[in-house]
Amino acid sequence: MSFGSTIRARLLLLLGGATSLAIALLLGTLALVHWIRTVETRLRAETQLVLNNSQKSTYDLIITQNSLQKLLRLRDIDELEKALAGYEEQAKRQKTALATRPALAPSLAALDTAAKTVLDELLLGNNAGAIDRFVNNYSRAFTAMLDALKTDSDAQQAAAQAESVRNEAFLTRLLIWVIGGAAVLLGVLIFVGYRFQASISLTLQTLARELDRGAKVLSENVAQIASSGQTLAESASHQAATLEENSASLA
């Protein structure tokens, strides 16, 4: 392999390495930004979901309470039967919605029990007794349920916030590692570049020395040739003089 092709190959290698590293860093950064955005979006969605669920649950509870309260005002059994079906459907919907939150199970069970005491009286036609149970049992259980719902929602929000803080800390650590990694890679690139430059300089110095030595040899040779030419000229001149003398002597 010639000297020129070796340098070209090394330059291409260095350029290729630097380009690959730059692309890797760019892709890595893009992937990191995308991941951070994904995590942020997920956390935001989770927090929003907690808030939405909390609002919906509160709304469901109030609707159920209103349905039950409406039953207390009804006297006509036909109307009561119809409204009772509506209440049971609403209570079932509420129960299904809150079943996904185990922390609320005891309060929900207490609310169900309190509602049952109201319905038991109501179904016996004892409206006064039903109102008494509603005021003394159901309303208290309802307040406890709302408190439990608030506590659970606050806990879920706190958990989401804690996860957000954890993720932020992880991202900070990751960023430090990425910057550190990039710095190491940059150091490696600088080292490789330095070694490459050093190897090229060494080669060029060797070449210069060899050229210098060649020039010296050439100069010596030229001097020697010049000296030989001088000697030859002198010999020719001497020979001519000799020939002239010989000619004169013969004449």
Partner: protein, 184 residues
């Protein structure tokens, strides 16, 4: 000591007197409205479906009716078939169809005060021995005191009229009227 107690009781009685008078009597304008409702209730009591239902029950009391006691009645849920049968018979249908917006409750009793039809389950299975049934059974109209309906918190008054068959009382029709609605 005793005289002090007597004085206190007397004071309490005097304090309670105005409320008692208010409960017993009605403002003449309101009474006029109640009277108008009573006229309609009397007309309702003459409905053939009501008269027939009372007459039939007086003639032949079903065994489950005869076996019913106040304790059993009190323990019966309102959605039980026996109770529902009393809200879904022809007499109940007529009462329901003809009830006005002022009606809060309505029940029809036979001669023995046992229920024939109603809109809402009554507290008592039999009203025999109570003025709201006994008065109509003597051919008179009865009007109760003003009371507060615990379910609605509204003031109401009960009136009872006889169910006549050939001019003879065979049962009673008792209707609860919302005074709050009548006066609004």
């Amino acid at each position: 000591m005793i005289s002090r107690l007597c004085r206190r009781l007397l004071s309490l009685s005097l304090l309670a007197l105005p409320f008692s008078l208010f409960a017993q009597g009605l403002d003449p304008a309101v009474q006029t409205k109640v009277n108008a409702q009573i006229t309609q209730i009397v007309a309702l009591a003459t409905d053939p479906a009501l008269v027939r239902a009372v007459r039939d029950q007086n003639a032949s009391l079903p065994p489950d009716y005869a076996a019913m006691t106040q304790e059993k009645w009190k323990a019966l849920p309102i959605l039980e078939p026996f109770v529902r049968s009393l809200t879904r018979n022809p007499a109940a249908a007529v009462i329901k169809a003809k009830k006005t917006e002022f009606v809060t409750e309505a029940f029809l009793s036979d001669a023995a005060g046992l229920k024939v039809a109603f809109l809402a389950k009554t507290s008592n299975w039999s009203h025999k021995g109570k003025p709201k049934h006994d008065k109509p059974m003597s051919g008179e109209t009865w009007q109760g005191p003003v009371e507060v309906d615990e379910s609605t918190g509204q003031q109401q008054i009960q009136v009872a009229v006889p169910v006549l068959d050939g001019g003879k009382p065979i049962g009673s029709l008792i209707i609860g009227l919302s005074l709050t609605k009548l006066t609004s």
